[in-house]
Structures are given as C-alpha cells and as structure tokens.
C-alpha cells in the first residue's frame, strides 16, 4: 500500500518552507505595527530592503552583523543536536573574544601566519572552557545546562567587565590596548572597492568554514553520529555503547569554542581591541538563529543573514519608525517559527487530504 509521497510531504521540503512561511507571515504582522505608528509599510519595507541589500555598503554592514550571528547560531545548533540547550553562547563569546584580545596584546612581533591562528585558537580555548564547565557539570552531576549556562553568562560578563575597567584597560577607557598589528584580519574594503567604510572583514570566511565543519562533523563523522544518537535518545545511545557523558562534555566544549570565534570579527577584524559591551546580546540572538535555521548549519547561515539584515535595517529605518519596531519584528519571526510548525503542517495535511479525496472520487 506504499503510496507515492507528495513532494510537500518530504520533511526536507517542509523544514525549508516552514521558516520562509514564518518570515513572510511576520513581515505581514509587522506591517500592522508600522500602520499603527502611522507609516506606510510598503515605504518602510522598501527602504529596509534597498538600504541593506541594494547598496554594497549596506551589504557590507549586513555581512558584518551576520558574522557573529553565524558563530552564535552554530554554537547553539550543535549543542541542540546533542539534546542540549546552550543559553550560554553569550558568556562563551565574551570570554572567547576577551582571550583573543588578551593574547593579541601580549604577542607583538609575531608574524601574521602564526599570530592569526594563535588568536583564533585563543578565542576557541576561551569559549571552549566556558562551554566545558556546564557540560562537565551536566555529565557528572546532572545539573541542568540551561541554569548553569545562564549563571555562567553573568560570571563571564562580570569577569570581562572587571578586567577591562581595572586590569587590562587603556586608562580612562573600557577597552583593552590594541592587539598586535600582525593579528589583524583584513577588511573587505582593503580588497574590494565598494565596501568602503563598512567594517565587514574576512572573518566571515572563518564563519562559513565553521558552518562547513559543523555540517561535516554532525552529518559525516561517527562522532557526529554518536552526538545525534545521544541527543535523540540517550537510552539507545547507552545501549549502543555510546558514552552519553563524554558526548555532552564534547558538544558543549565544541559549541563554546565556536561561540568563542566571535572575537575574530570584532577584535581581529574591526576594532582591534576588546571593548566592554561589544556584544549586544549576540549569544541570545544565536538561539533564534539556530531555531529559524532548524539547527542546520546552512540554515543557520541563511537565518543569520536575515537577522543581520534586520539588525542593520533597524538603523536605516530609524528615521521613519522607532528602532524598537525591528526588535518587535525579530521577536515575531521567532514566535511564528515556533508556532507555525504545527499550523503549517496542519494546513498541509488538510491540503493533501483534499487532494487524495478528489483523486479517489
């Protein structure tokens, strides 16, 4: 009785269509808010799209905002595959970026081909340690990673704040001294004209490589297989001889290390120092990015692009509507992604049912 599946029934198609459906729907709802503040939604949206996607400067800004969101989104997505909810990307990226800056300021005179990998590694180690701690606690004591990562976010924020106001700061500022010049990642405008003035830099390549790595790791290696089994059914993992605690620790550590790469964008590619408050909740946006991207590394890239666009777009439509509108839009996207899954599938089932009925009649 195996009937041929309708293409809409394939999970892959659905996973792709549902977020798009959610985004379209949330823009529609966002239009209502724009009407409420007395503006024309078509005008606002056309400015939003033309100023972000229509100019190379806008694209540069958008990509600059996208890069850290890819790292944070990948971090959350990878942990999620192991069944862990990493709320701690924010703390992990704070520690990671700070480590990048710290190592960078003390290693003046090292050639670039050593310095750049060194600073990248420093960020990964910093973030990795910050992911390892809640992973270890979860594996050994069962302490819930959500609570512990939230708490470690506070610890991370307080720690780096203390360091950049007291110990490692340039006097009278809240930032560290500059990193060694050899540790800088070149900006796009150094190579391509047109991106002038935009801070977008080659760390986005690292972000894309990280996405490729996460995909390969999860989808193509036995470690990724084990990680997925642990995430989907820890009892089956145990039965199959897969260590649950090892995989929890490992995935939290790798997730933390990926979040720790955020420093490549800001510290190595933009300001060349660590500054208090450089991340405006990137780690938390990472949760939304992972969700919208369906925890798929390539989905994460697309979702990060959307949120990067909204983040920069919020600035360009600032003169027309309150900036808060963009925050509302972002929130609506998330709400629709979460809730549209069921709605969408229901619509789909009804649609397919009608179709089979009409065929049979």
């Amino acid at each position: 009785m195996a009937e041929k599946r309708h293409w809409l029934e394939h999970p892959a198609t659905q996973n792709f269509l549902i977020p798009i459906f959610a985004v379209v729907l949330s823009f529609a709802v966002g239009a209502i808010f724009i009407l409420i503040v007395g503006q024309n939604p078509f005008e606002v949206y056309s400015v939003l799209f033309s100023q972000t996607l229509g100019t190379s400067y806008g694209v540069g800004q958008l990509l600059f905002k996208t890069t850290p969101l890819i790292f944070a989104g990948l971090s959350v997505a990878l942990c999620f595959k192991a069944g862990l909810f990493n709320i701690g990307a924010e703390g992990q990226l704070q520690i990671g970026a700070f480590m990048t800056a710290l190592v960078g300021m003390y290693t003046v005179g090292v050639p670039a081909f050593i310095e750049i990998p060194l600073l990248v590694l420093a960020g990964m180690v910093g973030g990795g340690v910050w992911g390892f701690i809640p992973g270890y606690l979860k594996a050994k004591t069962g302490a819930h990673e959500v609570i512990n990562t939230i708490m470690l976010n506070f610890v991370a924020a307080a720690l780096v704040s203390f360091f950049v106001t007291n110990l490692f700061n340039v006097p009278a500022t809240v930032h560290t001294p500059s990193i060694a010049p050899t540790g800088r990642i070149p900006r796009f405008d150094a190579v391509f004209s047109g991106f002038e003035g935009s801070p977008v830099n080659f760390s986005i390549i690292i972000a894309l490589l990280a996405a490729l790595f996460v995909w390969y790791y999860i989808d193509r290696t036995r470690y990724g297989y084990e990680l997925r089994v642990v995430g989907l059914n820890s009892k089956a993992a145990e039965y199959g001889g897969i260590s649950v605690s090892k995989n929890i620790i490992l995935s939290m550590t790798i997730g933390g290390a990926i979040a720790g790469l955020v420093g490549t964008n800001y510290v190595m590619g933009y300001k060349y120092y660590f500054e208090e408050g450089f991340s405006t909740g990137t780690g938390f946006m990472g949760i939304a990015v992972a969700l919208l991207g369906n925890n798929n590394p390539f989905g994460v890239i697309l979702a990060a692009l959307l949120f990067g666009m909204l983040e920069y777009g919020g600035l360009v439509i600032n003169t027309m509507v309150p900036k808060e509108l963009v925050s509302i839009l972002q929130a609506i996207v998330i709400i629709f992604v979460i809730s549209s899954n069921k709605i969408f599938r229901k619509i789909l089932v009804n649609f397919l049912k009608k179709r089979t009925l009409s065929i049979n009649d």
Binding site: E9, Y216, Y225, N233, A236, G241, K353, T356, L357
Partner: protein
C-alpha cells in the same frame, strides 16, 4: 436477536492511508464479539470512531437499532458505550473511587457526595465480581486491577456496550483468566462486548462471533464455534501461517554464556536479583518465563553491560564480561534485542540505515576516524532490508514510520548481523503482528540451529513454550524452577510465575 451496534459502510481516511474502507460490522446485543487483525489493520480506528474519537468520512452508525450521530466520547457515553483503551486513562495520584467518578460526579449542594457514590460503586462491583480497593491510589495498584477500574468506570457510566482494546496485553495468564470470567459475567447481565485482540486463543476461548480485519477492510465474519485459529490466522495475514514453530530436537553444546550467583541491588537498596545462576549452551534456546518486574530486565541489563551487578559474575566463552560496558560486551560477542524497542533499541527519529549500525558504527567497514562510509552503510541497509523483509524497503525511511513488527525486524537484523555467539532477546515479539512473530521466531530458531546460544526472555508463555529447549521461571529476583525441556503445561508455569509454587532458588545449570 437485535443488534446493539451497527457500523454501516464506514470509511475513514488519514492523510495518506485509508484506515477503514467501507467497513460494515454488526454486533448482536448481549454477545461477545471479537475483532481481530494485524497491527494497522484498522481495528482500533474503527472502534475509536464508534467511541467518537474520530469522525468517519462516510458511513452511518446505529446503536440499539436507532440512527445516531456520535460527535465525541460525550455522545457515545450518553448512548451507553464504554471503552477500555490499551493505555489506561486513569489519574495515578487519585484514588480508585475518585477515578471512577471523575467526570460524572454525584453532587449534593454542589459538593461531592462520595458516601452515596461509594455505596453505589460497591454494589456495582459486587454484582460483577469486580473487586477493587476503592480507597487505594491508582498508582499503588497493579495493571490487572487498574483494568478492572476502567471496566467499573464504564459500567458506572451505565455502559451497555463495552469495547476493550487488547485487554490482555498487559496481564499475566492468571489475570487474563479472571478478566474473561468478568467478561462472561457482564455478558450474562446482558451487556454487549467488543474485544479487539490479535491473540487467537483468546478469541476461541471467549467470543461468540469473530470479525477479521485486514488492511482496513473486513475480510470475514464467522461464528467462533465454526472456526479454528489456523483459519483465522490465514484470514488475518492473507496467506497460510505457521502457528507453531517447527524445530528439530537438538543437543546443546558447551555452555557459552554463564551467569554465576548474580545479585543486583538497586539504588534504593532493593534486591532485584538474588544469586541467579544459569548457563546457555551453544545451539540451545533457554527461555526465561516470568511476570514482568521479577528481575528479568535487570538480568538482561547486567549481561548487556548496561548495569553493573552487585555481586557474582558473568562469562561469555569463558571470559568474564560483567563489569564491562555495552561496547566491550558487544565486542566480546553478544547480541542484544532489548525489551523496549522504542526507548532503547531504536532511535526512531533516525532513518533505518542509521539504526542498522547502532552499536556497530565504530566498525571499520562503517567508519574511519574522519568519516562514515556512507556507501557501505547504505549497502548494509539494503542487504538487511532484503534479507529480513523490512517494509518499507527504503534505507532512508524514518524508523518512527515503521510498524511495530518492522521496527523489531530492524533490531533483530542489526543484532544478528553482529554475528555474535550469544543472543539475548528480551520480549522479541511484543506488539508484533502474527506475520512478524512467525518470522522472528523462525529467525531465532535458525540462529539456534546455527549454533548460537540464545537467551529468550518473554512474558508471553506461548512464545516461551514453543521456542525454548529449556525453561527457567523467574519470580522475585530468583530462578524458582528449571524445566529441562519445554514439555510443560501453561498452567503449571503460571503457578511458578506467580510464586504459588516453588519459592526456593534453583540454578539453571547443567545442560
């Protein structure tokens, strides 16, 4: 005789399948009517349509010779229909009494009038010999009693028609006998009973008429007295089925798996295994009979390396394996079909080919340090799917979408592909339909004939009796009886299983 239930040309479609295809079923008032068929044949859907949980796409329902429209269970209860689901709908922290009155409470000045209700229910319970402890919490009573509570609940709601979905799936043989006694009594009182089942001996024992469903259709209806299990099985499956396993007498070889004085004390300090000793020889099936929860699960988990015994040890081929983890135990030559396929044996969100390498994923043919060998994983899946006739024949199908029998075949295929010396199979055919059971039984016997040592744990006595070369009975964490062959009466096994006979430890040694 008038009809209590008439389901006329009922059709019910789900998105991709037709669960009921123009089904007509008439049940005579005051009779016990069995509805049999394999899993997925549409029995439960049909009855849930009657109960108002589904709306038919077309067709009519008549109850007690009147046209009715049933939009929800509310309507069906009003019409005197009660249903005891396969999974009980009870609230564990509430008492039996509270559960029975829930939803139809007698009130006095808008307060619960439990006193009046208690007398009413006690009277009902007495009339149908449904003894239940009214003040005990449901979480503290056994499943057999819980089922009586469900029946009482339906009768308290004035049900004249009672539908029971696989009622004996969770019961011991003794509890089943009691249930049947209750059902006969209900019939005497004029109630109409529909029994959904796929156990044919039950059908023969209790029903007046049988309807057989296959693939959403009724394929036959007969008077029970004029049929036999063989004929019913053939109708259910659509081809001749071997109900008894054919196996040659065979002398067992040397012991391969030995369990020596095994004791397991859990975290709360309760001894779940008490000095259990047994041997399984090559080329034999040792069956462990017992009511679930008497230590069989712990015995299997100790052998498979999932839990560590508190005392005693286990050897495989002369090498000690107790204390090792599952990975090492597999590597020493054990295959393990776990009792709960959904919780342990499969990752239902993964596809079939990935499930077919669980626990084998580290082997060189499937993965190197840097990558999985996707081609060999796929080839392995294709090979096993063909060899074990797993449906659908698609390595990329999600395990969740498979029927229970096919899910179990995935596990059996994987475990036998280990080419292990010892096979531990726990409840291998639970929830599997007749065709699947036949296949799995044949596979286990073939493994035995190929010289494997098979330890079979099952709550299904038929299975134990037809497959085992020797039978051990577990009760209260001990082996209370060892039968050197399978020439045992079911009733005698039952006495040992419930602890009424033989309370001292025996050792299942000496092949």
């Amino acid at each position: 005789m008038p009809y209590a239930i008439e389901l006329l040309s009922i059709t019910k479609r789900f998105a991709r399948t037709i669960a009921n295809d123009n089904v007509t079923l008439r049940v005579e008032s005051g009779s016990i009517h069995a509805l049999v068929g394999e899993n997925g044949a549409g029995k439960t859907t049909l009855m849930e349509t009657l109960y108002g949980l589904y709306q038919p796409d077309s067709g009519r329902i008549r109850i007690q010779e009147k046209n009715v429209s049933i939009k929800s269970p509310h309507d069906s209860i009003r019409l005197g229909i009660g249903m005891v689901h396969q999974h009980f709908m009870l609230v564990p922290p509430l008492t039996v009494l509270e559960n029975i009155v829930l939803g139809s409470e007698t009130t006095r000045y808008s307060l619960l009038d439990l006193k009046k209700t208690t007398t009413e229910i006690a009277e009902l319970a007495g009339r149908f010999s449904l003894s239940v402890p009214l003040d005990e919490k449901v979480e503290n009573i056994g499943v057999g009693i819980q089922q009586r509570v469900e029946i009482l609940k339906a009768i308290y709601r004035k049900a004249d028609i009672l539908v029971l979905d696989e009622p004996t799936a969770v019961l011991t043989p003794q509890e089943s006998i009691q249930l049947f006694r209750i059902l006969s009594e209900l019939k005497e009182e004029g109630k109409t009973i529909v029994l959904i089942t796929h156990k044919l001996n039950e059908v023969m024992e209790i029903s007046d008429r049988v309807s057989v469903m296959r693939k959403g259709k009724i394929v036959g209806e007969v008077e029970t007295a004029k049929t036999n299990p063989q004929e019913l099985a053939q109708m259910m499956v659509g081809r001749p089925v071997l109900l008894r396993v054919e196996k040659a007498e065979k002398k067992a070889g040397d012991p391969v798996l030995t369990v020596n004085d095994l004791t397991y004390v859990d975290r709360r300090g309760i001894s779940l295994l008490k000095n259990v000793s047994l041997e399984v020889g090559s080329g034999e099936i040792l069956g462990i009979a017992g009511v679930e929860g008497n230590g069989q699960s712990q015995l299997v988990e100790c052998i498979a390396g999932l839990i560590r015994p508190s005392a005693g040890f286990i050897t495989l081929d002369g090498i000690k394996i107790s204390g090792l983890g599952p990975r090492e135990v597999f590597a020493r030559g054990l295959a393990h079909v776990p009792e709960d396929r959904i919780k342990r044996g499969l990752v239902v969100e993964m596809d079939v080919k990935e499930n077919l390498i669980l626990g084998l994923h580290n082997q060189p043919q499937f993965s190197s340090r840097l990558s999985m060998n996707r081609k060999s994983i796929n080839d392995n899946a294709k090979l096993l799917i063909t060899r074990y006739d797993i449906r659908p024949m698609d390595p990329d199908a999600h395990a969740r979408g498979l029927s229970g029998g096919n899910q179990q075949k995935v596990i059996i295929a994987r475990e036998l592909s280990r080419n292990a010396q010892v096979i531990v199979a726990s409840q291998p055919t639970r929830g599997v339909d007749i065709g699947g059971i036949e296949f799995i039984h044949r596979t286990l016997v073939e493994a035995r004939d190929a010289g494997k040592a098979v330890l079979l744990v099952s709550a299904d006595l038929n299975e134990i009796l037809s497959l085992s070369d020797r039978i051990a009975v577990m009760y209260d964490g001990k082996i209370v009886k060892l039968f050197p062959d399978s020439k045992v009466e079911e009733s005698e096994l039952g006495l040992y299983m419930t602890g009424s006979k033989g309370n001292s430890q025996e050792k299942a040694l000496g092949i």
